[in-house]
Symmetry: C4
Subunit: 348 residues, 4 copies
C-alpha cells in the first residue's frame, strides 16, 4: 500500500481493482450526484484557526460514544454488502475496526450475519432498517442486543430507495436475498426477496420509533437527520444520539452537505443527545471541523470499503491508521491536546 | 429508450438525431446564452430540507390548475413548430400529454392547427401571440375557446424577436408561413408571411390586455413576467394566472433565472392569482423547489421535443413518466405525501 | 463579415489577421490581466429586470453628450496608433464614427494628426495627455479646439506606464516618435522621442487641471477615475464630465471592473457632471446596465480596432451597426422606448 | 533571464531545472495544498482603489523594520537548506539581499552557518526553532546576536512536522544532519540526527517565550500567528513584532490565506507591535494590499530560491529588482509617493 498516502487515494485504486458495476454501487450517489460531491467539497470550504504556544507533546484522540470508550472520534459507518469488497465481508471490516479501537456499525443489510461478528470484542452498534412486519423488526433488535451491539442506529432517510443512475448505467445487480446474512432465519430462498422488499421505511414514523424504544434497553440513535426540527423531535422522542446524514448522497439529491447543517442540528439538540455525522469525511482536518461545530464523532464509509477491496485487511488497517495519524497531527497543529480542547473558536 | 434515465439525457440524443439547424433552433438561446444556462444552473443551487419519520406509503402528485384537475404540477410549455420534431407535430405532443393527464399548452405558432387537437380530451390551454390586426387576434381567441382550451396564455415578452446567434450560425430557416397551422384561415400562401410578421408584441400593452379580457370568458394567464411590479399589475388587470418565464432564455439575455425571481413574483401576487414558472426544469427536485417557493405548477418545454424527436410518441411518454416518477420520489424523500405538503420550510 | 455576429467575434478574427505583436499590444492588459478579464466578466454578473406590456413600437437610442446630439450612448474610446490597424488610421475610424453619428475621441497619441480629422462633421472630443512642458500642452489644447473637438478628455491614470507583459513577451516595439501625428509641429525626428517621453502624467495634479480649465473654453472631462473621492474632487474642480476607466486594464492590475465602481462614482458626482465609462463593453445589454446605474454614455475601444483591422472601414461600419442594433433590441425587450426610460429598477 | 518577467515565471523554470524531489520540497505544501493555493489566490481577490492627480514624480519604497532602515517593505523569508538551490547557499541569498538593501532572515536550518554570513552588511534577522535542550537554544540565540542579527524570529507553528504528500511522492530525502550549518558546534556526525530531531516545537509555550525574552536584548518576533487571540497574547508577552504566517501552507492545511487574517491580527495588535506577513506574495500589488491592511512589511520565500536555482546570484538579483520595480510602479499608480501613504482606503 505504498502509494496510499490518504483516503482519497483509495477511490482511484478501487476504481481500477473492482468491477465497474460494484465500483458504481459503492461510489455512486443519487441522480446528478450534487449532494455526493457537496459532501466532500463542503469540508474544504472551512478554514481552521490554529492556536500556537500550546504544549502538545502529548495528544490524545480518544473519547467515549454513548459511554463506550473508543480510540478516536471516527467510526465505521454502516454499509451494506461488505462481501462485495472482501470474501470475509463484515468479519474483516469489523475485525480490523476492533483491533484499532474504532466503533463499528453493523448494517441490517450486511453480507455476513450479526452473529458472525459476536465474538469480536471491539465497540459495535447495529444499524436498523425497520421492516413492515414488526415481528421481524423486533427479532432483529433482540438479536442485535444479543450479539454485542451497544446501540441501535435507526435509519430514517430511506422511505423509498434513492435512484442512483450511475449504478443503473453500470448495470449493477443486487445479490439474491440469500446474500444478506441477517435474514436467513426468517425464510428460505424462495421468499427472501419479499422479505428484504419490506425493509423500506415508507411507514416509519415517530410512533414506530416510540414502539422501538419500548422494545429494547439499547439506546437509540436516529440516523438521516438533516433539519433542526427533526433533531429536536428525535430528542423529544427519547433518542440518545442524532446522526446527521444524507445517506452518503445516495437518497435525495440536492440535500445540503452534512457539515452545512451540523450547526443547525447541534443547536436544536441543545445537549440533550450526542450528535454524529457522516458524509465526505476524508481528512483529519475534516474531523476537526466536525468536532469544532459540536459533533461528538464522525463516521466514514466508502474509504474503508475501498481499502478493503484494494488492500485486504492490511489495507484497511493502513487506512484506519492513516486517518488516525491525521487526526492526531491536526490536533497538535491546532493546539488541542485532547478532543475536548477542539472548540468553535478553532474555526473561522 | 434504455439509455434515457433523465431529461438531460435527451438533449445529447437529440443533438445526434436532429439536423444541426433544427437542434440549434430548439436548444439555443439569445446572444451569449447566459440566461439559458442560468435557468438550469439556478435550480441546483437550492438545497432541500427533507423531513423524516413521515408516512409516505401513499404519495399523490395530482393538483388542479385554474380548477382543472391534472395528474402532476408539471405541464407542457408552449413551443412553436412541433412538426420539426415529429411528423404528427402537436397531435403527437398533446396526445401523449393527454394520456398522462398532463396539461398541454398549444402555441399560436404550432405546426398543426388547434382544430386538429380539438378531439383530445386532456386539459389544454392556448398560448396567444396577439396580432397587430385585432380582428385576427379576436378570431384566434374564439377558435381557442371553441377547440377546448380552458385558458388563454398571453405572451408578454416578445415585443421584438430575440436574437439567437446559435440559430444564425447553424443556418436555421423558419418555415414558410404555410407551416403554421393556425393561420390558414386568414390568408393564402402569398400574404402569409405578412400575417405572421404582425405577431410580434411591440404594441401589446395593459390596455390591450383589458380588451382581451372583455373579449372572452376564458381566464387569462400572463406569461413572461419577471418582476414583482408587472406581476402586481397583471393582477390589477384581472389575470387568473401569472407565468414567470424568460422565454427559455430566447429573448433578452442576462435576465435572471426564473427561479431566482419566483419569490418576488409570488409575494407581489399575494394569492390573487396562481403562479406558474418555466425555465430549465429538468428534475423532480426542481419541481419541489418551485412548489416550495410558491409556484402552483411548472412547465417544461425543450425536453418533450427532444424526446419526441428521438423516441417518437413512445419516447415522449417515457420522458413524461420519468419526470413524474422523479416528482413522486422527491415528495416521498421530502416527507410530503401531497403537493400541498411541500412548503417553504423544505428549502434552506 | 458574415461570421461576425457580435463584437466578441472580432477579437478572434483579429488575432488571426494581425501580427502577434500588434495583437498583443491592442488586446493585452497589465501584469496578470486580472482587471482586463474582470472588465468584461463583471457585466455578465448583472441581471436585467425587463418590464412588459410597454409600447415599444418606436425605440430611440439617441441622446446628447455635453449638449452634443449623438445617435447612441456608445462612443469610440480614445486609442493610440490606429494606424497599426488600417493605413488610414484615425481618418478611417473617425470617418465611420461620423457616418454613424457616433462620438469619436481622438487620442493624443493618434497615428494621424488631429488636423487630418478636421474636415469630418461628426461629434468629436480630444483625449489629452498633458506634457511636462506646459507650452506643448497648451498648444495641443488650442489645436484641439481649432480642429473641431468639443471637449477635452484629460487622462488621469497614467502617471507611469502600465507594464503589459503580454506585449513584452510578444516583442511589441513602439513606433518611432514620427509615428505620432500630433507631434510633428514640435520637433524634428531627432528629439521626438524626448517629447513623447514627456507625456506621462507623474506631475499631473489638481492644480494642473485648474490651469487647463483656465486655458480653454472647452469643457473638461476627467478620464481614469475609479473612486468616489476623486469623482467628487473632479466636480469641485469644475469638470463637466467624469469618465470611469481603468485604461482598459492596461495600467494598474487588480483595480475593479469599471462597472463595479460606477454606482460609487455616480453617487459622488450627484448630478454635478455627466458620467461616462469604458471597460469591457461588448453587448447592448452591457450598455443597458451602465445606463441603469447612472452613466450617460459608455465608450468602446478595442472592438472597433479589431473590426478595422479585419474588415476595414466596412468592417467597422458593420461593428458599429451591430452594437447599435443590440442597444435598440435591448431597450425594446426592457420596455424602454428611450434611453431616459432606462432606470435603476431595470437591474436586480 | 530574459523570459522572467515576474516572480510566477520562476516556479515553472525551477520545475524544469531542479530535480523533481527538490522541487517538490520547495514548492509543495501540506496534504491537499488547499492553503498553499489559497495563499496566492487570496491576493487576487482584493481590488485596489487608485487615487489620481497626485504628484508621484518621486516614489520612495523605503521603510524601517524594528528601527532598521530597509530599501523596501519586502523581505526574504526564512527558508531551510538554501544549499539545495545554490552551492553557496545562504551566502548567496543573503549576499544579494544585502546588495539590494533587503532584510534577510536566516533560518535555524540553513545550509550554511550563521557565522558564514557575519561579514555581510545588510540587515538580518535570525529565525529560531527552539530546541528541547534549552542550552542549545540559548547558544543559538547568543550566536545569532554575535553574528549581526538584529531580531529573533521565533517560529510558533511547528509543534509537529507538517505532512507534505507531494514531497513523499517525489521521494525527497532530508540531508544528513551535517547539512545544517548551525549545528556543527553541538555534536559530531553520529548524534546530529538526534539534535535536529529535538527542534520541533511541541513544548514551545508562552512560558518558554518569556524565558527567551529574558535571555537576550534582541527584540522578539513571533512567527506563525493566525489569530487575533494569539497576536494579542504575543503582545502581552512583550514581542516587538507579530508575523502572520501559515508556514507557506506547509504545516496545517485548511488554515486561511494569510492575507485573510491580516486585519484580525492588526486589530488585535492595536499598534503594540509591528505586523509582518508571508504567504503567496508574488506581485507588487500584493504588497500594496498588505500595507493597506496594516502590515509593515511582507516576506517572500520560494521565489527567491527558484531564482537562485535557475539563474544563480544574477537571477536572484533580477528577481529582487523585478519585485522592487513592481512595488514602485504600484505605488505610483495608486497615488502613494511613500509607503506611509498606502492606506486602508486604497482597498475596496
Amino acid at each position: 500500500m505504498n502509494t496510499v498516502l490518504n483516503l482519497a487515494d483509495l477511490e482511484a485504486l478501487a476504481e481500477q481493482s473492482l468491477d465497474a458495476a460494484t465500483f458504481a454501487y459503492y461510489a455512486g450517489g443519487a441522480n446528478d450526484e450534487v449532494t455526493l460531491r457537496e459532501n466532500e467539497a463542503a469540508w474544504s470550504r472551512h478554514r481552521l484557526r490554529p492556536r500556537v504556544m500550546v504544549d502538545v507533546s502529548e495528544v490524545d484522540a480518544s473519547t467515549t460514544l454513548l459511554g463506550t470508550p473508543v480510540a478516536t472520534p471516527v467510526g465505521v459507518a454502516p454499509a451494506a454488502l461488505n462481501g462485495l469488497a472482501h470474501p470475509d465481508g463484515e468479519v474483516a471490516t469489523a475485525g480490523e475496526a476492533a483491533r484499532a479501537g474504532v466503533l463499528f456499525t453493523t448494517s441490517t443489510l450486511s453480507s455476513r450475519s450479526m452473529e458472525d461478528l459476536a465474538g469480536l470484542d471491539g465497540p459495535r452498534w447495529f444499524q436498523l432498517y425497520t421492516h413492515h412486519d414488526r415481528a421481524i423488526t423486533a427479532d432483529l433488535v433482540a438479536r442485535a442486543a444479543a450479539t454485542g451491539h451497544r446501540a441501535l442506529v435507526v435509519t430514517a432517510d430511506r422511505p423509498v430507495f434513492g435512484r442512483r443512475e450511475r449504478e443503473i448505467r453500470a448495470g449493477f445487480r443486487w445479490p439474491s436475498a440469500l446474500g444478506y446474512g441477517n435474514f436467513a432465519p426468517y425464510a428460505d430462498e424462495h421468499d427472501m426477496a419479499a422479505i428484504t422488499a419490506g425493509l423500506h421505511g415508507s411507514l416509519l414514523t415517530w410512533e414506530e420509533l416510540d414502539w422501538l424504544r419500548g422494545l429494547t434497553d439499547l439506546p437509540l440513535v436516529l440516523k438521516g437527520v438533516l433539519t433542526g426540527e427533526d433533531a429536536a423531535a428525535a430528542c423529544d422522542h427519547g433518542v440518545a444520539g442524532v446522526w446527521v446524514s444524507n445517506h452518503g448522497g445516495r437518497q435525495l439529491d440536492r440535500t445540503p452537505a452534512t457539515v452545512d447543517v451540523l450547526t443547525e442540528v447541534v443547536d436544536a439538540v441543545a445537549g440533550r443527545a450526542e450528535v454524529y455525522l457522516d458524509g465526505g469525511v476524508r481528512r483529519g482536518t475534516d474531523v476537526m471541523v466536525a468536532l469544532a461545530l459540536g459533533a461528538r464523532a464522525v463516521f466514514v464509509g466508502r474509504p474503508w470499503l475501498f481499502a478493503l477491496a484494494t488492500g485486504g485487511r492490511e489495507g484497511l488497517a493502513h487506512a484506519l491508521a492513516l486517518l488516525h495519524a491525521e487526526v492526531e497531527a491536526a490536533m497538535a497543529l491546532l493546539g488541542a491536546p485532547s478532543v475536548a480542547h477542539v472548540r468553535r473558536a478553532h474555526l473561522r
